[in-house]
Assembly symmetry: C2
């Protein structure tokens, strides 16, 4: 018998799995191109050519025990230095190798941070809607998730609600911009207000409140939008980054944490992160991929691909009469469900061969998430199906 | 401030770090080849040529979103199938893809198993001496480690002590053969006795007791010794395997779990493992390396390299007069400390530029561990230093 703690998680996961299996069934029945699968955040864009070039070079450059060998649990020193320099150039920060820890993706990085910072009962604030996995990451170490609502027009977190929710037990906040599932990028004035609230709360409770910036979508922004680098606005900021989207390497599990020297007890935090990386069983970020990303710092996936998809899907859905705000980054569109229960709406959509994720998975019922990291053709072909779905729900003219 | 839970771990880890730094200091002072570092279990043998060939082929064979993409959290189906077939051929088992889960090394696999099986307070039995990380893996999920002593002549676990230590709270045992730190391989008759004791205890407590076989050293055995495949001796066996040593890929973090269909609630256990892989932040084993190992199933590092090292070191130390048993596998030699406190002995050894790990790190004071995955020259050059050390401790004639 598995752990009691795990049984609910397995049952919930069966629901998602059932949906995935349903997708496979539909695709078999109607053909790949007749099923419009917007349920998965799986990048559909090639990794930049530099990645494959880097791999070819590396297997020639490095003798094998080094190429695939152990290193410090925090990662290769020179890789961390290169990444620090790269961020300094782009963001005007003042980072060194010791401020970077290589991680098994952002998911690995977030778990390492939770293990390092949280004692059982410590509270972690998240903003609705949020990536559902945060709940598990926090609960893995006995922390407690505290949800803060967002403005329903902009999806910016509601700072008045945040004010009320921060307590003497608050140890960290998780912020995710560009956001999954809304596609929203928080503007600088919002960030400034948020950070000044956090400063005040730190003083009030005489306790450090860490701001964890989960940034797998940092590079995926459209219309030249500015994404503030949060370490510059609030000292106790730790960044969790991933190359899953920016280099289309989601299966390789490679990312890093940034712990600037301005973070209180930065040395202790870094030492804790190093130990947590080891004892959680990550041991270190995959060695070859560490060396690959160090060679691809200026490489980037084709963002125009996602932007074209965004425009087509957003304009198409709006023209049909659906309510949604225009995504500014990431590859998700958060749409208001025209039916009261969005789970029913997702079910109805399936009859039109459209697969979406219910907002309740992000703690925001009444909405659905569409991941548009599909092919452009999928979006074009899906629009008539959305039109038929709209008609059935009484949406549009 | 970091979590209270983490503070002791960070302090302990500083001791190991201090030793590592001391090693670096000595090497700087006396030269790389004048310091005899037997402290680290870092393979010093090249990965087989097939690994590099496989990488070169794969970046040509697979279009990039597949090569580096997401897959089921349990790993690529066809990779799991190939591994299952390979084990079936070698061990006469009856495994299929669904019985294999790809993991981020054996360390990742063990954490996933602990998360899947253990509720807080559940007991996990380990045999002294044991790999110290087990303590952290079990404690990560609130489990309790129970130590069982070993026969001091053979280092086989003491079954009488085990009988007493298994309780109604025992959920699993961890077994590690070939063993770190002793290099011992448990013979078949011992395995049979162990398994029959476990069967009896399962009946007595009407509760499943899982045997977790941690097997990173399975292929590293000498003198053609037979290493029993434990799933064939006890139904509730789960195997945690790693390619770190067999393919010299320790930095790549690639391994797998075997959950045979004979395991009670195997379906639920596999579902739990799949979810645990996701929520612990591993998400999946690195994708390129999954494909690499599937192409290298019959490849193996040069084991003669380690065997030559073993012979030289074991015979050298025995001739000098140190007490140790001949390692049969892995690349560790566990030597009796000629001084009562083995930590003092390690300190004294440092004066002879010899670095070793104290047995207390493996919960077995009175011994020291020597990792002979060094160069052959290191061993040859170290023997005169060991001789001088022996003289200082009054060892030998």
């Amino acid at each position: 018998m598995i752990a009691k703690n795990m049984q609910d998680l397995v049952n919930n996961s069966s629901t998602i799995r059932a949906m995935f299996e349903e997708g496979k069934r539909l695709k078999k029945l109607y053909g790949e191109d007749k099923v419009f699968d917007f349920s998965l955040g799986n990048p559909n864009v090639q990794a930049p050519k530099q990645v494959e070039d880097a791999i070819s070079e590396l297997i020639k450059e490095y003798p094998s025990p080094i190429l695939h060998g152990y290193m410090n649990n925090s990662g290769y020193e020179f890789v961390r230095e290169k990444i620090a320099d790269h961020i300094n150039q782009k963001q005007g920060t003042d980072l060194a190798a010791e401020n970077i820890v290589m991680t098994v993706g952002a998911a690995g990085g977030l778990n390492v941070i939770c293990k390092t910072l949280l004692d059982p009962g410590d509270e972690v604030v998240v903003f609705r809607p949020y990536f559902g996995e945060y709940r598990a990451y926090v609960s893995n170490v006995g922390g407690k998730l505290i949800e803060v609502s967002s403005n329903s027009d902009t999806f910016y977190p509601d700072l008045e609600d945040l004010e009320k929710k921060i307590s003497s037990k608050t140890k960290m906040l998780i912020i995710n911009t560009p956001n999954n599932p809304t596609g929203v990028v928080y503007p600088e004035d919002f960030i400034i207000d948020l950070c000044s609230l956090l400063e005040a709360k730190q003083k009030e409770y005489q306790r450090q409140i860490y701001l964890i910036s989960d940034e797998p979508y940092r590079e995926l922004v459209y219309d030249g939008l500015f994404v503030p680098y949060l370490t510059k606005y609030y000292k106790n900021t730790i960044v969790a980054y991933s190359y899953s989207k920016s280099l289309s390497l989601p299966g390789e599990r490679i990312g890093y944490l940034v712990i600037p020297k301005e973070v209180e007890d930065a040395g202790e935090v870094c030492a804790g992160i190093n130990v947590a990386t080891r004892i959680l069983g990550f041991v270190n970020a995959p060695s070859l991929m560490q060396l690959v990303v160090a060679k691809c710092l200026n490489a980037k996936v084709n963002i125009e691909f996602y932007e074209k998809n965004r425009n087509k899907l957003y304009e198409g859905l709006r023209d049909i009469g659906f309510e949604c705000i225009k995504p500014q980054g990431a590859f998700y569109l958060f749409m208001k469900s025209p039916m009261e229960n969005e789970v029913d709406f997702c079910e109805l959509a399936k009859k039109h061969n459209i697969l979406m994720v219910a907002g309740s998975s992000f703690s925001s019922p009444g909405y659905v998430r569409l991941a548009y990291c599909t092919s452009y053709e999928t979006i074009c072909n899906a629009l008539p199906a959305f039109k038929a779905l709209a008609k059935e729900c009484g949406v549009g003219k």
